[in-house]
């Protein structure tokens, strides 16, 4: 009896509270950066995280109810099969997809998550079948996670990688554990929902590692570059910089530029050494007149590019005389 009460406390109180606290802590460095106004992405991150955490907390309520009572109350259902049991994970996965699309600047596809949610909800409302729901949701869930992971590894960015791990553990992996046990093994009882709680805690722990910079410091650091910096004087550093293959320098960096008027996007290649030469110090910014040949759209504009080749802002040109 005592063990059962203790179990209920652990599952029902501690897991959600720890999850919530860790999620708030993960958001602290991002909020600080947002206040400093470093990047507009930080605000979207906070909005997305708040939404996802709310959805996960709602799922917790349902899992805990199932674990403690054995069944989910029938009053949650709307229409044939539409219930919070499906709506909440669906919104969570769609928010992930929306965030991935936002990060990858695929603005053409911004409406896709909303349209998919609409049709999947309509299907669940009309028919007592979850075939379409599963067929769409499972690949989407893993796709969003793997895109984050791939981008994180490719750019050696701990935050993006941690977002991938967060997405994967928040819903993807527990679903992978739960489904075979529930449907193929036809066993497990209400406790098959426990992996969802445990994996959610792991996911938010990973998120903290990313937002607080632990992954950047200990996993995604360049050992070779650090060794060279440690053992070199300033003149030697310049020499190292010069020794880099010429072909790599000449190829330049590819940046996605976006017209500030019509928001059309295009990839442009900039000669790396020219930008580095113009922006001499760390905070240097280069002003570039873009789209002179009108290859992106009909407008011309100025882009402000920093040394790391990120675009800090645009300014449209009213008139060329």
């Amino acid at each position: 009896m005592l063990a059962q009460i203790a179990g209920m406390w652990i599952v029902g109180i501690f897991a959600p509270v720890i999850y919530l606290v860790l999620a708030i802590v993960a958001n602290v460095p991002i909020s600080r950066k947002r206040k400093q106004g470093i990047q507009s992405l930080n605000l979207s991150f906070t909005v997305w995280l708040t939404f996802t955490v709310t959805m996960t907390m709602l799922r917790f309520v349902e899992y805990i109810q199932v674990i403690n009572n054995g069944v989910l109350p029938g009053s949650y259902y709307i229409g044939e099969a539409l219930s919070t049991w499906y709506i909440v994970p669906m919104l969570s996965v769609m928010a992930q997809l929306q965030f991935v699309l936002y990060i990858m600047r695929k603005y053409k596809f911004y409406s896709v998550p909303a349209i998919l949610t609409f049709f999947l909800s309509l299907g669940l409302f009309q028919y007592d079948s979850t075939i379409a729901y599963n067929v769409v949701m499972i690949p989407l869930c893993y796709t969003a996670s793997f895109l984050f992971l791939w981008k994180g590894v490719k750019n050696r960015d701990g935050l993006t990688f941690s977002l991938g791990m967060f997405s994967l553990f928040d819903y993807g992996i527990p679903y992978f554990i739960y489904s075979p046990v529930k449907y193929m093994g036809n066993m497990g009882g209400a406790m098959v929902y426990a992996p969802f709680l445990i994996c959610a805690l792991i996911s938010v722990a990973f998120l903290n590692l990313g937002t607080w910079g632990w992954l950047d410091k200990h996993v995604f650091y360049d050992k070779e570059r650090e060794r060279r910096i440690k053992n070199a004087w300033v003149s030697r550093l310049i020499e190292i910089e010069k020794k880099k293959p010429e072909a790599r320098k000449a190829a330049g960096r590819c940046i996605v530029v976006e017209c500030p008027i019509c928001h059309r996007q295009a990839r442009k290649q900039f000669p790396q050494e020219v930008v580095l030469e113009r922006a001499r110090n760390e905070k240097g910014i280069v002003k570039m007149l873009l789209n002179q040949e009108k290859e992106v759209c009909e407008h011309q504009f100025v882009a402000y590019v920093d040394r790391s080749f990120s675009i800090r802002g645009y300014e449209p040109i009213d008139m060329m005389v």
């Binding site: 603005y107 053409k108 596809f109 911004y110 409406s111 896709v112 349209i115 998919l116 609409f118 049709f119 309509l122 299907g123 009309q126 028919y127 007592d128 079948s129 075939i131 379409a132 008027i261 019509c262 928001h263 059309r264």
Partner: protein
């Protein structure tokens, strides 16, 4: 044939709009070709989208006319089956959204419109809706689920898309035409307002005949560019002092 008066009146009214639509298509195509810039080779996209909308409208009129003449019964409405006519109307609306997206420089609206339209098609295919093409009927089924009777409910959605979508597009055409003082877009809004009114009051034959009669009369001068809603802005001559 349940109601011969209704059947023949709607058939004759639809046929009466055909010559207008053919002339409109010819005129619009001619103007579109003429709008091609000899230097860049680019043609006016707004004209192309207007032409496409009229072409889809023509297609949506042709199907019920042929169907009614060949089979001597009224075309089943969109609550019963998905047919070429309803698909064309949906295409027409989505092309209208594309036109608005182009004018307002909001490319994402266009994608949203086409994705939604694609969603409707996929949903209809996977939920067992009957697709009709004259005598050919097909129904796609998934699993052992009994979908019979549910198709009617689905068409509330398509009805919502076609009627609500068309009304919104017409409203936005009016607003956009007024904003940019564009006769083409404002005139198109007036053109498509008539089918919307006719659709809303489909049970009233007199309204139906008046609306389609207006389309038959108004279409040709509109396509020839004879109808002007906005006065062209007077050209201001500004003296520019030479820079010293």
């Amino acid at each position: 044939m349940e109601d011969p008066i209704r059947f023949y009146t709607s058939l004759i009214t639809n046929i009466a709009t055909l010559p207008t639509l053919v002339v409109m298509l010819y005129q619009l195509a001619k103007k579109y070709r003429a709008s091609k810039d000899p230097e860049t080779g680019k043609a006016d996209t707004v004209r192309l989208l207007v032409l496409l909308q009229i072409a889809f409208w023509f297609e949506s009129i042709m199907y019920p006319i042929l169907n009614n003449i060949i089979f001597q019964h009224e075309t089943r409405n969109i609550f019963q089956s998905l047919n070429v006519s309803s698909l064309s109307i949906a295409f027409m609306i989505t092309t209208g959204i594309t036109l608005l997206a182009y004018v307002h420089h909001k490319e994402s609206w266009m994608f949203a419109g086409w994705f939604f339209y694609g969603g409707i098609l996929l949903y209809s295919i996977f939920t067992g809706v009957v697709f009709t093409f004259f005598t050919f009927e097909n129904r796609f089924m998934l699993g052992d689920l009994d979908y019979s009777g549910n198709a009617d409910t689905f068409f509330a959605l398509q009805f919502g898309f076609t009627l609500v979508g068309q009304t919104s597009v017409v409203l936005f055409f009016f607003l956009t035409g007024r904003k940019y003082k564009d006769d083409k877009i404002f005139g198109l809004a007036l053109f498509f307002l008539m089918p919307v009114i006719a659709g809303m009051m489909a049970s009233n034959l007199i309204v139906y005949v008046i609306c389609y009669g207006f389309v038959a009369v108004y279409g040709i001068p509109y396509a020839m560019g004879k109808i002007r809603f906005f006065k062209p802005a007077p050209v201001k001559l500004v003296e520019v002092e030479a820079c010293t």
